[in-house]
Subunit: 106 residues, 2 copies
DNA sequence: TATATACGCAACTTTTGAGTTGCGCAAATT
DNA sequence: AATTTGCGCAACTCAAAAGTTGCGTATATA
């Protein structure tokens, strides 16, 4: 099952995990304590995040600390770039709508 | 069913729709022609995108042109902002992992 | 060495979401 | 006025994803 980065952040729990470990790396148990959720449920979310490289594991004895992979998150930023000029140039939304409508009347 | 912007973007077809109408407003039929997909299927995606305000309808006779709402897309950009300093400061990922591990040994 | 802890994996149930079919309504065309 | 076209809504099917339970394994602790 190939996971993609957009689907990974679609889930609120996974977004919360990312927000947490962006500050500090955590173990699965530590995450499960933060949310009211079983360890296995969290573990599944970790699997999704790991498969699409948004997080990276670091084994420390019998514990595994998951780190945030900022580099991968940049892919979002790249995707967003295509729309960035839209909100920079469309200073007046209403004008835009009207002019497009007029154009299509032709 | 309350739709959120992250879930809306999770679907590849919906991302394609956004990319298309960011350039020019389109009707549901026009979108269905671009993808090899029934009008009703597209219509459902439109509904999701509309509910979370990523697109805005503009009626023109019996046709409805859907416009991209750049303003709403900025919410995504805002969410991303919390991670932006991560990829700006973490210039060396390996060093980061090692130092965190060492810290946790204590 | 026996026991407890941290974790991943697999099988299962339940929920959600993508797509189809069929319908009704309003605007255009004849 | 009758027909066609563009659209949304509702009921349905089917596949995927969220969460649970149970198990196996490796590391730590007694």
């Amino acid at each position: 099952m190939k996971q993609d980065i957009f689907q990974a952040i679609a889930d609120p729990t996974r977004r919360a995990i990312l927000t947490l470990i962006a500050i500090q790396a955590l173990t699965p148990n530590a995450m499960a304590e933060k949310f009211d959720m079983s360890r296995q449920a969290v573990s599944k979310h970790i699997k999704v995040l790991h498969e699409c490289q948004l997080i990276k594991p670091a084994q420390a004895g019998r514990e595994i600390y998951y780190h945030f992979n900022a580099k991968k998150m940049q892919e979002f930023d790249n995707w967003l770039a295509q729309f960035r000029q839209n909100w920079e140039t469309q200073f007046n939304q209403l004008d835009e709508v009207l002019s497009t409508l007029k154009e299509q009347k032709k």
